[in-house]
C-alpha cells in the first residue's frame, strides 16, 4: 500500500505526515523526534515505549501508526518539564526510583494511566499497573514508593 497522510496530535502539537502502513507508532514517534519514547524490544515485552493514546496506556511498538490516526498522544515528555514536572516525575526523582532511566518514561506513563483511573491505588494495584514495564536496575521498591507518594501529593493538591 502507498503512504497515506495521517494526523497525530502529540504532546499538544499536530503532525500531518505521509506514512507507509507497516510502520509502528514507536518508529514514527522516534523519527519525529519524540525520543523520550524508548525502544527496548519492539515486541511488547518491556513497556519502555509506553505512551498514552487517547488516554489509554499502550505499548507504541504494538500499535501501527495508521491505527493512531487523529489520535491524542501523550508521552512522558508531554507530562512535564524539568522546570515544571508532573508530580509523578518529581516523586520518581526524589524517591530514588530512577537508575539508568531507560524504563522511566514508560513506567511514568503506566503510573499516570493508573492514577487517572484510581487516584488512591493500593500497593497491589500499583504493582499490577507497572507489571508490563520491566526495570532491570531498581528492583521496583522505590518505583512503587514514588507512585504512592505522587498519588498522595496529587490527592492533596488536586493536580495531575
Amino acid at each position: 500500500m502507498k503512504p497515506q497522510v495521517i494526523t497525530l496530535h502529540i504532546n499538544g502539537r499536530t503532525h500531518n505526515i505521509a506514512l507507509s502502513p507497516n510502520l509502528t507508532l514507536l518508529t514514527v514517534l522516534r523519527d519525529l523526534g519524540y525520543t523520550d519514547v524508548k525502544c527496548g524490544c519492539e515486541k511488547g515485552d518491556c513497556g519502555a515505549c509506553a505512551i498514552l493514546l487517547n488516554g489509554v496506556a499502550v505499548n507504541s511498538c504494538l500499535v501501527l501508526a495508521w491505527q493512531a490516526d487523529e489520535g491524542e498522544i501523550i508521552t512522558a515528555a508531554g507530562l512535564g518539564t524539568i522546570e515544571n514536572p508532573h508530580p509523578l516525575q518529581t516523586a520518581f526523582s526524589d524517591a530514588g526510583a530512577i537508575q539508568c532511566g531507560y524504563c522511566t518514561p514508560g513506567m511514568i506513563i503506566s503510573a499516570k494511566s493508573l492514577l487517572d483511573q484510581k487516584p488512591h491505588p493500593t500497593e497491589a494495584e500499583i504493582r499490577d499497573a507497572i507489571s508490563g514495564n520491566l526495570c532491570r536496575c531498581t528492583g521496583y521498591a522505590q518505583i512503587v514508593q514514588a507512585i504512592q507518594s505522587a498519588a498522595e501529593k496529587m490527592a492533596d493538591g488536586g493536580e495531575g
Binding site: 525520543t35 527496548g40 512535564g80 518529581t90 526523582s93 526524589d94 522511566t104 536496575c137 528492583g139 521498591a141
Partner: protein, 774 residues
C-alpha cells in the same frame, strides 16, 4: 527471632552536611521528564543506518562470502567484510595482565572471514540510507558454510580429541591457590563434605539495547557517541581501525543499564569502521534479539568443594575445583576466573586451601563480565557447602559460620590481610532478624528461611595499577564544576562525585554540575566496572575538591585574620566556626581569588595500591584493594505439589563503609538483590549447540514488579573502607549473596538441597522425588 543480633562496635563517623543524604540525584529529573538523550536517540545530517551481518552457525568454515549484490543495491553506502579490514582485531586482554596462560586466541577478529566460532559472530557490516534498504542488503549477502564439529560442554572440550576452538587447545586460563598443608588439614578433620554445584548463564537484559552514532570530522577524528561502561576503549578501536589514538573520540552517553554487558567493546568498533569507510555519520542500534546474540553472558560454572571440618564446624581444609565456559573467545574470562578462584573458599579463615580453576573455550555464546564478576558463582557454592556442613554436623548454619568467619586482621586464601571491618555475623543476624518470625507450613506448602554471607572485592585487581583522575573547579558565581571521564550507568556514579564535591566545597548539590564520560574532553577516570568508581573517582574528586577548599580557606583566613583550622565552608559561605555569624560569601571569596591570580581548580589523580601479580604457583599475594562484607536472608514458600517457589520476604544487610547517597545505596542493594533473585529462580537461558533458544524478554524472563517482594535494605556504616569518607563499594556485592540465600531457604523448607540454579519447579519436584526414594 532466630538469632541474637550481634551488637556493632562503636563507630565514630564524622558529621557531614551533604554526603550520606538521600538527595535527588543530579541525573534524575532529566530522565523523569524524558529529556536525557541516550545513544540511540541521536540523529545527524546525512546519517546512514548500520547493521551487522552475523553467523548462522556455531562452528563452521566460511567457504564463500559474496557481498557484491548487497554492494550494488541502490542506497547501500558500504559493505565491509573481514577481507576489507584484515588487521582489525580486538585484543581482549586487560592491559598489564600477566597471570593467565598465554594463548594465541586471546584476541578477537572484528569480522570473521575464514571461520566462525559462535552463533551470531559478526561477518560483515552494512551501511545504507534507510532501514528497508539495510534489511534488503543483508538478505542479499551470499554465504556458504562448511559445518565443523563444535564443542558445547567445557568438560568435553578438555578431553583429548575434542574439537579445538582456537589452536593450540581449549584452555583459556588456569589459576591455582596453594596455601598451607591440605593433606594434614584433611587428616585433622572429623568429617569430609563433598558437593558439586552448577551455575548457569545469566543475561544482563539491560533495558537499553546497544546503540551509538559515529562520524568523521574535518580533522579525520572519528567521534563515537555510544552507550559504554569503558570510554578507554578508544585505544583498542584506534588500533583495530588503524588510526592514531588521538583520532578516536568517544563521547559516552547516559548508559541505559550496563551490569558488565557494556564493559567489552560492543558496536562502537563497527560504527568507527563504517564512519571511516563511508565518510558519513552512521547510527547503529541493536534489536533485542541481536543484543542477546552480540554481548557476553555470565559464565556457567561447575564448582566442586571438598571440605574437612571438625565436629564444632571448624574448617581444617578446603579443596575447590572449578571449570567455567568461556565460549568462543576469551574476553574477560581469565579475570572472572581469577575472581571466582580467590573468592572460592568464601569469607572464612582457612589455613589449608587448594583451588584449581580452569576456563575453557567452547562454541557457546561468549561469556565475560556480569555484576559480581565470578563472585556470585563462588558464593553459591561456598555458602551451599557451609549449609551442607551444618546439616551433616547437626549444627545451626550460623554456628558453623561463626566458627570460621573472617575477621579484621585475618588473611584470605591468597594471603591478603583484611584491613577493614569484616561484619559478617553482624550482617547475617540483622538480615535474619528482618525476616521476623517464620510463617507456619500450610498443607503441602512448606515454609523455610535461609541466609548467606559473602565477601566481594571492590576496585580493580591491584596489579593492573589502576588510576583515576578528576578535576574540580569553583566558578565566579560559586557554582562548582566537576570534570571526570566517568560513565554513568544509572547507579549514581556521576552523582556521587557531585555530592562529594558539594560536601568539600560547602555548596548545595544543585550548585554542582558534572561533565563526564568523554575520552577527549574530560580527564580519564577509568572504567565503570569492578565497583571502582566511587572508590577511585570518589577519592580523586575528594582530593581535587579538598585542594580547592584549602585554597579558599587559605584566602579566607587572611580575610578573617583567623587560622585556617578555625574556619569552615557551608551553604555557599566561609565562616568562623566559633562565630558563625561572621561569614564571607563564596562569590566574594572566589572574586578575591580571581583578582589575585589564585587558582580555583585542581586536577587530581588517585592511585589504587600497586602490587605485583600473585605467585602463579601458589596464588599468594594481594589481589584487590579491599572487600565488602554482608549477608542476605530469604523466607520462601515451596509448594511441594507443584514445585513452585514463592519468595515471601527478603532482606539484605551490607556494611558499605559510608553511604554517599543513602537512596542510591539502597537502590543498589535492592536492585542488585533483585537481579540475584532472578538468577536464583527465574532466569533460564537455554542454549542448544551454541544457539540461544530464548533470545527475547518473553522467553528469557527477568523479575517484574509482581514476582518478588521488596528487598529490605539494611545499611551498616563501619567507616572503614578505602573509598572517600570510609566508603566501600556496593554495586556488585549487592547481587552476590542472593542465590545461595534462596537455595538455603528452599532446603530449610523441604529438607533437600538443590545445588543447581535456577531452581525451577521441575528441579524442586525432581529433588523431592529423589529424596522420597532414599
Amino acid at each position: 527471632m532466630k538469632y541474637q543480633v550481634k551488637p556493632l562496635p562503636p563507630v565514630d563517623l564524622p558529621v557531614l552536611r551533604t554526603v550520606g543524604k538521600p538527595l535527588r540525584k543530579v541525573d534524575a529529573m532529566g530522565k523523569a521528564v524524558g529529556a536525557t538523550v541516550y545513544a540511540g536517540d541521536f540523529s545527524m545530517p546525512q546519517m546512514l543506518l548500520g547493521k551487522v551481518f552475523r553467523s548462522k552457525h556455531s562452528s563452521a568454515h566460511i567457504t564463500r562470502l559474496d557481498v557484491s549484490k548487497a554492494r550494488a543495491l541502490t542506497g547501500v553506502a558500504c559493505v565491509i567484510t573481514g577481507f576489507d579490514v584484515p588487521n582489525a582485531r580486538l585484543v581482549s586482554d586487560m592491559p598489564g595482565q600477566t597471570g593467565q596462560k598465554q594463548r594465541t586466541g586471546s584476541d578477537v577478529p572484528v569480522l570473521a572471514s575464514q571461520q566462525v566460532r559462535f552463533y551470531g559472530e559478526p561477518i560483515a557490516l552494512v551501511a545504507a540510507e534507510t532501514q528497508e534498504i539495510l534489511d534488503k542488503a543483508l538478505s542479499l549477502i551470499e554465504i556458504d558454510y562448511e559445518p565443523l564439529p563444535g564443542v558445547y560442554d567445557p568438560q568435553e572440550a578438555i578431553k583429548p580429541g575434542a574439537p579445538v576452538v582456537t589452536p593450540p587447545d581449549n584452555i583459556v586460563a588456569r589459576w591455582k591457590i596453594r596455601k598451607g598443608n591440605l593433606e594434614s588439614g584433611f587428616e585433622q578433620a572429623d568429617l569430609i563434605v563433598e558437593n558439586t554445584f552448577r551455575l548457569p548463564y545469566q543475561e544482563h537484559a539491560y533495558l537499553e539495547p546497544e546503540a551509538g552514532v559515529a562520524w568523521m570530522d574535518e580533522r579525520n577524528v572519528i567521534t563515537i557517541r555510544v552507550s559504554t561502561q569503558v570510554i578507554e576503549h578508544f585505544r583498542t578501536i584506534a588500533r583495530a581501525v588503524g588510526v592514531p589514538q588521538n583520532k578516536i573520540h568517544i563521547q559516552g552517553t547516559m548508559v541505559g543499564g550496563g551490569f558488565g554487558g557494556k564493559e567489552d567493546i560492543t558496536l562502537e568498533i563497527y560504527l568507527a569502521l563504517l564512519a571511516k569507510h563511508t565518510g558519513r555519520p552512521v547510527r547503529m542500534v541493536y534489536t533485542r534479539e541481536e543484543s542477546f546474540l552480540a554481548h557476553s553472558k555470565r559464565h556457567p560454572y561447575v564448582i566442586k568443594h571438598r571440605t574437612g571440618v571438625k565436629k564444632n564446624g571448624l574448617i581444617t581444609a578446603s579443596k575447590v575445583e572449578m571449570i567455567s565456559d568461556s565460549g568462543a573467545y576469551p574476553y574477560l574470562s581469565p579475570y572472572v576466573l581469577l575472581y571466582t578462584t580467590v573468592m572460592a573458599p568464601g569469607p572464612y579463615r582457612i589455613d589449608n586451601v587448594h583451588v584449581d580453576a580452569l576456563s575453557v573455550a567452547t562454541n557457546n555464546p561468549f561469556t565475560s563480565a556480569f555484576r559480581g564478576f565470578g563472585g556470585p558463582q563462588a558464593c553459591f557454592a561456598y555458602e551451599q557447602q557451609m549449609d551442607d556442613i551444618a546439616r551433616q554436623l547437626h549444627l545451626d548454619p550460623l554456628e558453623v559460620r561463626k566458627v570460621n568467619y573472617l575477621r579484621t586482621g585475618d588473611c584470605t586464601a591468597t594471603g591478603q590481610g583484611i584491613e577493614s571491618a569484616a561484619w559478617l555475623e553482624e550482617t547475617a543476624t540483622r538480615a535474619m532478624a528482618a525476616l521476623g518470625e517464620q510463617r507456619p507450613d500450610h498443607g503441602p506448602v512448606k515454609i523455610g528461611q535461609g541466609f548467606s554471607s559473602y565477601f566481594q572485592s571492590y576496585g580493580r585487581i591491584t596489579w593492573l595499577h589502576d588510576t583515576s583522575q578528576s578535576w574540580v573547579g569553583l566558578e565566579l558565581d560559586s557554582t562548582v564544576t566537576v570534570r571526570a571521564g566517568v560513565p554513568d550507568l544509572g547507579a549514581g556514579q556521576a552523582n556521587s562525585l557531585c555530592q562529594i564535591a558539594a560536601e568539600a566545597l560547602g555548596v548545595p548539590l544543585e550548585r554542582v554540575t558534572i561533565y563526564s564520560t568523554d575520552s577527549a574532553l574530560t580527564p580519564l577516570s577509568g572504567t565503570s566496572t569492578a565497583t571502582r568508581q566511587l572508590y577511585m573517582s570518589g577519592n580523586a574528586t575528594l582530593m581535587a575538591a579538598n585542594t580547592v577548599r584549602k585554597v579558599l580557606l587559605s584566602r579566607a583566613s587572611k580575610y578573617f585574620e583567623e587560622e585556617i583550622e578555625a574556619l569552615d565552608i557551608a551553604d555557599g559561605k566561609a565562616f568562623i566556626k566559633n562565630d558563625p555569624s561572621q561569614t564571607l560569601d563564596l562569590v566574594d571569596l572566589a572574586k578575591m581569588c580571581a583578582s589575585e591570580g589564585i587558582h580555583l581548580s585542581n586536577l587530581a589523580l588517585f592511585k589504587a595500591p600497586f602490587t605485583d601479580p600473585i605467585n602463579p604457583e601458589t596464588g599468594q599475594g594481594q589481589v584487590w584493594p579491599d572487600f565488602t562484607f554482608g549477608s542476605f536472608a530469604v523466607e520462601v514458600a515451596v509448594d511441594t505439589e507443584t514445585g513452585e517457589v514463592t519468595i515471601l520476604k527478603a532482606a539484605a544487610c551490607h556494611d558499605i563503609g559510608r553511604a554517599i547517597n543513602w537512596a542510591s545505596a539502597e537502590g543498589q542493594i535492592i536492585g542488585g538483590g533483585m537481579q540475584g533473585l532472578g538468577y536464583s529462580l527465574m532466569e533460564n537461558m537455554v542454549v542448544k549447540e551454541g544457539v540461544i533458544q530464548t533470545p527475547s524478554l518473553s522467553e528469557y524472563l527477568i523479575p517484574t514488579s509482581m514476582d518478588y517482594p521488596d528487598i529490605q535494605a539494611i545499611i551498616l556504616e563501619s567507616g572503614t573502607g578505602v573509598g572517600p569518607y570510609g566508603a566501600k563499594g556496593i554495586g556488585e556485592p549487592s547481587l552476590t549473596p542472593a542465590a545461595p540465600a534462596v537455595a538455603s531457604a528452599i532446603a530449610n523448607a523441604i529438607g533437600v538441597s538443590i545445588h543447581e540454579i535456577p531452581i525451577t519447579p521441575e528441579k524442586v519436584l525432581a529433588a523431592l522425588d529423589q529424596s522420597n526414594k532414599l
